[in-house]
Structures are given as C-alpha cells and as structure tokens.
C-alpha cells in the first residue's frame, strides 16, 4: 500500500481537536480500520469521509459510540434498500415499457 494514500491519525486528531481514544473506539467496533506503519497509526484516504462523519456525530451531535454504530448500520441498510429499490424499479419499467 502506498503511504501517500494514508493519513496520520495524529494529524486528524490535531485538526479536529479530538482524542486518539475516540478513533481507537471506532476501530474496536469495526467502523474504522487503522493501519500501523512503523508504529505510527494511519487510516486510508477513503475512510476519511466516514471518520469525519463519526466525529461530527459524536462531538457535535453528542451521539455515543453505540448510537454511531446503530446509525452506521441503518445508513448502510438504507443504501442497500435504495439500490434494491432502484433495481426493482428498472425491472418494473422493463416489463411495463414496450418499444
């Protein structure tokens, strides 16, 4: 993995004024994957939007870790259902529309 795709957790914590323990807790619940390179902790670029969302849930909205976990699962389910809904709509259109 290229190191340029990684963001140092220390930097994120300084930038957002949060404690590293919060990220460790997210890691323990499986919401964020932490990568260790030469004893330093990183996350992948791709995970940053999710992490920032969780930071906002916790620090701005006062949602605890269990709440974040539940919301995250529900949002994933919502995405899956939306995709399924879209597929079913396409199938319905297919059967209704006659060229």
């Amino acid at each position: 993995m290229l190191e340029q795709n990684l963001i140092a957790i220390e930097e994120i914590c300084i930038h957002h004024h949060i404690e590293v323990s919060f990220i460790h807790s997210l890691q323990e619940t499986g919401l964020i994957e932490v990568i260790v390179v030469e004893e330093a902790l990183f996350i992948e670029n791709e995970q940053l939007p999710f992490l920032e969302k969780y930071i906002e849930f916790h620090y701005t909205l006062g949602i605890n870790l269990e709440g974040i976990e539940t919301i995250s699962h529900l949002l994933q389910q919502m995405d899956t259902l939306q995709e399924e809904n879209s597929k079913l709509n396409n199938q319905l259109n297919f059967h209704q529309f006659k060229p």
Binding site: H15, E56, L61, G62, S86, N90, F94, P99
Partner: protein, 289 residues
C-alpha cells in the same frame, strides 16, 4: 426577509442558559442532520435554520445583539453602521462559498457566515444532483461537464451505468465550515427509455418484425444493434415470439472493459393485410394441401 425567532426555532425561552441551548440544538440536530437524513431536502433546510439559531444563541455577543435588536432587526444595520463610522473598526468580509447556508435574516443581522464565534469545524454539506442520460450515452464511456452551484465539474461516466445508480465525486460538495473538509457530490443517473431497445442490467432486448414469408421460408435480415448493423440468418419455419440470443451484443458491463451482455431478438411475425384475390386463392390452395 422575515424575522426568525431563534428561541422558538430551538424550542427554548429567552432565559435559556447556554446548556439549555446546547441540549436543544443537539436534540434537533440529531433529528434533522443531513447525514442522518440523506436525500431529504426538508430536513436539510430545517437543519440550516437550527444551525443558524445555534450559531447566534450560543455566541454571547451575537445573542446580545439579537436580543437587543430582535424584532427591530431591520434597523440593526443602521445602528451598526453608525457604530462603525465612529470607530474605524475592522470589517468582516463575507466569503461567498457559504452563501445559501444562512437565511437573509441572518445575513442582514450578522453580515453572513463569517461572523461565527464558535470555531466548530463542520464537514461541508454533501450535494445531490441528478443527470439524465440517453441509452446511447450510457452505452459509451464519456466525459461530461456539469455545473454544480456555479462550478464546472468534468466527470467521466463509465459505460454501463445503471438507471438510478449513484456515484460519489469526492470533495465536490459544499465547502467545509471553519476549515472543515468539503463534502462530496452525489450524482444519480436517470437513463431514458430507448424507442427500439429495452435494457435489463447488461442485457438488451430488441423486438424485430418478420414478414410471414421470411418466417416460413427462412432468409436473411439486417437488424440494428447499439454497435451498428448486423446481418441475421432466419431459419425456415420460425415461430412468432421466437427468441434468439446474440452473444456480446448487449450492454457494456459497468467498469469491465470490453465485456458486454447479450442481445435478445424476439421475432414478431407480421401477417400480411389487404390481400388481393390471387393471394387469397393461393392461401386457400395452401390450406387445402
């Protein structure tokens, strides 16, 4: 510009403590936060107004100004200008990137988003956009320029994109607040129906009219595919509704280069109309054989 009662917005009274404000804000923000209400424009506008109320009431200076001018806010500008003329004070400049995040009322009283007191960083809002494509557009990987909130964004749309599919363009959403990161842009694609072809996933379906004579005796026909014309051999005694599969002539598979679904051709046999006497005689003769 209507007066906005920020206390009412947060459901608190004018004597509320900063703790009451925080609690009320959090409660409503949890209900209307855009991340918790994807694709819900009503929740988004509610959140904006709650945020605005919180920004004013949680900042002692702003709250004081709001309490002082309150319903007479239309005169607030005049009072402020008079103050500014007295002291050649610092002027805050407003950045246009956050325009739209605040009501006209807020802008009139506080001069836009720059006057925030609490330096809470927010990730920018995720933008939602939709794009209509024809079936032919969705057939080929192509680039398209979109204008989102006045900014031109060039995106590559991979061949095989599905109707209703949503893609994320990272960092092209609303600007972050107080140095927070930008949000993302989500584009949902809507693919219009084609007059000849029907699509289901990667498979294409094409109804083809066949003359009675070709169906009975067999022959050759030329059909359209999305990739050009194709010559087809029709076997003798082809039945109405019979389906044939043309492998790899269907729709491109999303993000798989040079991989295609199949094209299904369904024959619809056309019974001749307006037969002349001779034709009728021959059909009668045929029926007796």
């Amino acid at each position: 510009m209507d007066f906005i009662d920020y206390y009412k917005t947060l459901g608190i009274n004018e004597n509320a403590t900063s703790d009451d404000i925080k609690k009320a804000y959090r409660k409503l923000a949890r209900k209307f936060h855009p991340d918790l209400n994807p694709n819900n424009s009503e929740a988004k506008s509610n959140f904006q107004i709650i945020n605005e109320a919180n920004n004013v009431l949680s900042d002692p200076e702003k709250r004081k100004k709001y309490d002082q001018y309150g319903k007479d806010w239309q005169h607030a500008e005049e009072f402020e200008k008079a103050k500014q003329n007295q002291s050649s004070g610092q002027r805050s400049t407003r950045t246009s990137q956050n325009a739209g995040d605040y009501s006209d009322f807020f802008d009139a009283m506080f001069g836009g988003a720059s006057g925030r007191g609490r330096q809470v960083k927010f990730r920018g809002e995720d933008y939602q956009a939709s794009l209509q494509l024809s079936l032919l557009d969705a057939y080929k990987t192509h680039q398209q320029t979109l204008t989102v909130n006045g900014k031109a964004i060039r995106i590559t749309i991979p061949a095989g994109i599905e109707n209703g599919q949503r893609i994320r363009i990272k960092g092209h959403g609303g600007a972050g607040i107080n140095g927070g990161p930008s949000g993302d842009l989500y584009i949902t694609f809507f693919i219009s129906e084609h007059k000849e072809f029907k699509r289901l996933g990667n498979e294409l379906f094409l109804p083809v009219e066949l003359s009675l004579y070709t169906a009975v005796l067999g022959g050759e026909i030329i059909i359209n595919t999305l990739n050009g014309k194709v010559k087809l051999k029709v076997k003798p005694e082809t039945q109405n509704g019979e389906k044939i599969r043309l492998k790899g002539k269907g729709f491109p598979i999303y993000k798989k280069e040079n991989e295609f679904g199949d094209l299904y051709v369904t024959y619809h046999i056309k019974i001749p109309t307006g037969l002349n006497d001779k034709q009728k005689e021959l059909f009668t003769e045929l029926s007796k054989l």
